[in-house]
């Protein structure tokens, strides 16, 4: 927004002047050339021994006049590597069939089993249209479409913002709806059915594809506290219905001696088909001298028993009179497990729902990073950030830590 402001004000002044000189508004509007704002980024995300993601993003936005904007964002997401399949490490090597059932892979003794057949490319397009409804009320309509080999998502949303109190208070309401469809390789496995242990044996499937419907509501208030302080408070509610299971995740089943049971040692996971998520989110921005602090806190809870705290802080430290800046980033996330999370299952005691996905377990994520920004002129800005992320088990959860490097380049310009 800020990048284009000076030019935009100049355009408006030019328009106003030409209107006065020429006497006709139509002629003036024709002369106004509002540029496209282009924001681009390239993300490299790499986990130690697991997934690597390359993700270029381009977003363009243009003012159509009278505070009306249109924008489009295009994302390409290329993933390769290996992902934990949910089974636990054991003292001897373990062999698993790939999701297609056509081949097998073997995990060495003592190592976390990783599904090495994991690779995908995702393309996502989203568009938004922002328009004023009157002087104090605006609406943003959005739509998004995402496609990958085995997963599609289509969604729409609308966000209304109402300015009050000399634009010092803004009330926001947002609504969203989306439908996702999953077409897993080899079909959708029947929840908690045995995983074939040799190649060529067909797994038990319930369907070839499944869907889920997601509806979201946001209620928010943004308040200007003073000339250098801004606060935002949001409540969100999200309802998910349908197939919420990960069709590629398994659980180990142990016998009475805590050894993998001899027949059918692994079963597919199964999650409930409904989930209600809620969040309370508080965010603030404050300027210290020329530096700016952004801090946020989110409390999350859902009816799967998961709850979490997320703390996020960015401090923008200005250098050389605002031409460059350095921005340290600290994020800490602490999560309680879902009611049906199990590291492994016991033979003869299989519950109605179960998942060993560590992302549903007791865990924390700590991210530490630094961004460098270079303002190249009124309309150009370059940025680079490097961050380190560590996910670890909390309490007595026994799963292995996950560490990742995040590297991102940004470039913004007017076109």
């Amino acid at each position: 927004m800020q990048l284009k402001k000076p030019k935009h004000i100049r355009s408006v002044l030019t328009a106003a002047t030409s209107t006065l000189l020429a006497g006709t508004a139509q002629q003036a509007v024709a002369e106004v050339e509002i540029p496209w704002q282009v924001d681009s980024a390239f993300l490299y995300y790499s986990e130690a021994d697991r997934v690597t993601v390359y993700e270029p993003v381009v977003a363009i936005r243009k003012e159509m006049g009278d505070d009306e904007f249109v924008g489009v964002r295009l994302v390409l997401d290329s993933m390769t590597g290996a992902s934990p399949n949910g089974a636990m490490p054991t003292d001897s090597p373990q062999t698993f069939t790939s999701p297609s059932g056509a081949s097998t892979y073997t995990t060495p003794a003592g190592e976390t089993p990783l599904d090495t057949s994991f690779h995908d490319t995702r393309v996502a397009v989203s568009a938004e249209w922002e328009m004023p409804l009157d002087e104090r009320l605006k609406v943003i309509f959005g739509g998004n479409l995402s496609r990958e080999y085995d997963y599609n998502s289509l969604g729409v949303d609308a966000t209304f913002s109402w300015d009050l109190n000399q634009r010092n208070t803004t009330l926001t309401t947002g609504l969203s709806m989306s439908q996702d469809q999953t077409n897993p390789v080899g079909g959708v496995p029947t929840g908690l059915s045995p995983v074939p242990t040799t190649a060529g044996i067909q797994k038990s499937t319930q369907e070839t594809s499944e869907t889920k419907d997601i509806s979201g509501l946001l209620l928010g208030i943004t308040q200007v506290i003073g000339p250098k302080t801004l606060l935002q408070f949001n409540y969100t509610f999200t309802d998910e219905q349908g197939y919420l299971t990960d069709p590629y995740k398994l659980l180990s089943v142990l016998d009475n001696n805590d050894q993998l049971r001899v027949s059918d040692p692994y079963v597919y996971e199964k999650r409930p088909d409904s989930r209600q998520r809620q969040t309370l989110y508080l965010k603030g921005a404050h300027q210290f001298g020329t530096d700016v602090l952004h801090a946020s806190y989110r409390y999350y809870w859902d009816d799967w028993g998961v709850s979490s705290h997320t703390y996020d802080i960015h401090y923008r430290y200005e250098l050389a009179g605002g031409r460059h800046y350095l921005q340290p980033h600290l994020r800490y996330y602490l999560q309680n497990k879902a009611d049906f999370y199990h590291y492994s299952l016991q033979d003869n005691n299989i519950p109605a729902y179960a998942s060993a996905d560590y992302r549903l377990g007791d865990m924390s994520t700590t991210t530490l990073g630094l961004k460098y920004g270079l303002v190249l002129g009124e309309s150009h800005e370059f940025g680079a950030r490097l961050e380190s992320m560590k996910q670890q088990a909390e309490g007595d959860a026994p799963f292995e830590n996950n560490t990742a490097v995040i590297f991102q380049l940004n470039y913004s310009f007017l076109f």
Binding site: V57, G155, L217, I221, T236, Y281, H294, T310, N410
Partner: protein, 71 residues
């Protein structure tokens, strides 16, 4: 009763908010990009995508956004 409490709370918050804020000519700092609540939307978008894939919580800052399989 719950609705009345909610309306009372909202009225209280809004009346407290109406005594805060700045005059239009005091908005110099607030108008800058770096003082926006989301100054770099692509950074926030990519972070949301990473943590959506790696944690069980999501949302808070906005509505919508594209889904993914995210193994």
């Amino acid at each position: 009763m719950k609705t009345i409490n909610l309306i009372l709370l909202l009225t209280l918050v809004l009346s407290a908010c109406s005594s805060m804020g700045v005059q239009p000519w005091q908005r110099g700092h607030l108008a800058k990009q770096k003082m926006q609540l989301d100054p770099y939307p692509l950074d926030a978008f990519l972070d949301e995508h990473i943590y959506f894939s790696k944690e069980s919580s999501s949302g808070g800052a906005g509505v919508g956004g594209g889904g993914c399989g995210c193994n």
